[in-house]
Subunit: 227 residues, 2 copies
DNA sequence: GTCTATAGTCGGATAGAC
DNA sequence: GTCTATCCGACTATAGAC
């Protein structure tokens, strides 16, 4: 491999491997300790490179942080694409949506979220990153809001509306969507606490079944009560 | 005022006012920026004292941080005492608990939580503090878990169990309690996001009604479905 | 009890050899 | 492209005057 990329874009004929190693280490460090808590030296050590390598590849610590946000969004989207895709297709068809089918899609979406966020240990790291940025918005807030929260809650709200037989979501559907999604936070950001409360050693297949059941009951209730 | 306190305990015949000012400023700073993100200089400036005053009154930055956790627990407990008191009294009576009354107490508890956490702007600060500590446990984790999460979820779980006609809570009730409480996080840690999603300028009386209604529906569903 | 001054450490970013 | 060496600023904590 003489030159990994023939400079397909202006930037980065640089070592993609080093870049990736830094990014992976940075996501973990920032997710656990935050922008201020994680030092470039710690990240460099974890990535197996020297400290100035971060500046060389990303320009600055802040720029690296923003790049981490982008990577998190990408990985999250990849994990949920199999469920969000069909849901978007259903809602975008223009025709009147069958409430029962909307309910099926909503269930699939929630199951995919459980798989991506609760079953995956890495997601607790992502969740830490995202939660910090929501509390104290910085350079990464817009990325996370525009690519994660806004489309995520809007999709859920539209599915809830469709399952209730409405053409478009209103305030009630958006509120319910927000709360439905926030239930997952108990097992991402609140992973440690929830494991202690439930006396779970770890969150394996059996625990996931229980979580899915509890969420499933909420979805039922959401739609059954209509409004 | 010659000597605010006659040294009732061994420690702190020191200025209680200065101590309080530092504590208030520290809670805000740590809540917004975390232990590493908030500097003693910033806190001192916000409290209107000089930087070494923090060390004088609290010993170290870490000790001040732990003291903030204690203060948050106290203030939270004070805000919810009017609802948690009757609930604890009901459950502690030893006799078989009337399911309908348990449901009433559960509603009161959730309303008190909404008032304390959602209606109160300060609570977003507390929530930031607590959320960081849950993600990356430090010296304050035990305080917050033992005095906040454990008793809070256990109380909710016992009320849910009683409302379902059970003597004691099981895994299902604890799971449901965790998720019910995590709904509030959408409006504490997720305050900014939720306001944007809902297109709310701020969270006033009308918005609180909507939030309470949505939570109330969940409480209904929780108990109606039994298990 | 509160202040100023400062010691000692660690952070991010840059310069320049290879 | 990757390394070592280093600058400079910001931080916490301590010493000592008042």
């Amino acid at each position: 491999m003489a030159q990994t990329e023939p400079a397909s874009r202006g930037a980065y004929a640089k070592s993609a491997d080093t870049r990736r190693a830094i990014l992976d280490a940075a996501i973990v460090a920032f997710g656990e300790s935050g922008l201020d808590g994680a030092s470039t030296r710690t990240i460099a050590a974890a990535a197996g490179v020297n400290q100035p390598a971060l500046n060389y590849h990303f320009g600055s610590k802040d720029a690296l942080y923003v790049e981490c946000a982008r990577a998190i969004v990408e990985r999250f989207a990849a994990g949920t694409a199999s469920a969000s895709g069909p849901a978007i297709a259903l809602l975008g068809s223009g025709e009147r949506v069958d409430p029962d089918l909307a309910l099926v899609r909503l269930r699939q979406l929630m199951d995919a979220l459980v798989d991506t966020l609760v079953a995956n240990e890495d997601a607790a790291i992502w969740a830490g990153f995202v939660a910090r940025e929501m509390n104290a918005p910085g350079d990464a807030f817009a990325i996370l809001y525009d690519s994660l929260w806004q489309p995520g809650t809007e999709l859920a709200a539209r599915l809830i509306a469709a399952a209730r037989g409405f053409a478009d979501p209103g305030d009630d559907e958006r509120l319910d969507a927000l709360m439905l999604i926030s239930n997952l936070i108990a097992f991402t950001n609140g992973r440690r606490v929830s494991k202690s409360i439930m006396k779970w050693q770890d969150i394996g297949p059996e625990q996931l079944v229980a979580v899915r059941r509890s969420i499933s009951r909420q979805v039922d209730a959401l739609v059954a009560q209509g409004n």
